[in-house]
Symmetry: C2
Subunit: 153 residues, 2 copies
């Protein structure tokens, strides 16, 4: 976060998370990866992010272990890179889900939710709650298209 | 988020949340407000954020209903403004808590956590989990200084 004089800054988990995903576009790249996108052109075209910025953001996310870079080659084309969420990257669904839930309550649209938090197996709606540490609980979630979505994923 | 061509963008809850708190410093201002800070000078000095940027971010957060602006006057001083979390702003603890929890699992430090998620009444540790929608659950959390914290709040 730049010139923080807060001596506690690099220990704070919020700062540490923002260091990785706090720049513009980063969380939306993760969102689109959660939706199944893997290719540079998919991220660029769906987000409208300039190529040089996308390159930089993907580099940061790979360096931080959020995305894993792999190679693929389509017939007749040169080798290209694809980007796949690691376990750490997939776990950022927790942060995305928190934003979805906060927006649903405090900043909703008339169209209904674009994304719905659901049990990955049953697709029943779920929500984030605070439970006693160590209690058995689910940290699994699927983020599915809702009634307000114009996109499919 | 600027020039998004994603037609779904302004419906997406993640985009809608980032529109409000996605700029640099915004979530750290909210974090510090959660810790009890209310004054411009407190935010500026603890974060090291330039005054003009802090003014802009506070304005955005007030306009979005995250912070409420009030006036106060200390003896011998001119009237100044203080900034107080609204219900909507306090609820952003959900997003902060998600970042704390993700960092604890995937990006910890050797110093231990700077912040701990706890039950507001008992101070027992809690964690975020996905529970069935509509089930009784707690959405209350206190974010307390942990062993890795160099700050107090």
């Amino acid at each position: 976060m730049g010139v923080a004089v807060d001596i506690d800054a690099r220990r704070c988990q919020i700062v540490r998370t923002l260091d990785i995903v706090g720049e513009k576009w980063s969380l939306l790249i993760v969102r689109n990866a959660v939706r199944g996108q893997t290719r540079f052109s998919e991220f660029r075209d769906s987000l409208g992010v300039p190529s040089d910025i996308l390159t930089a953001r993907l580099g940061t996310l790979v360096a931080a272990g959020i995305l894993e870079k792999r190679s693929y080659r389509e017939p007749g084309s040169r080798e290209r890179s694809s980007y796949h969420l690691t376990e750490s990257g997939l776990a950022l669904k927790l942060v995305l889900a928190a934003m979805v839930q906060w927006s649903d309550e405090f900043n909703p649209t008339v169209y209904g939710p674009a994304s719905i938090l659901a049990d990955p197996e049953t697709h029943e709606k779920v929500e984030l709650a605070f439970v006693p540490m160590g209690d058995p609980h689910s940290d699994e979630v699927a983020i599915l298209p809702g009634p307000g979505s114009l996109a499919t994923w």
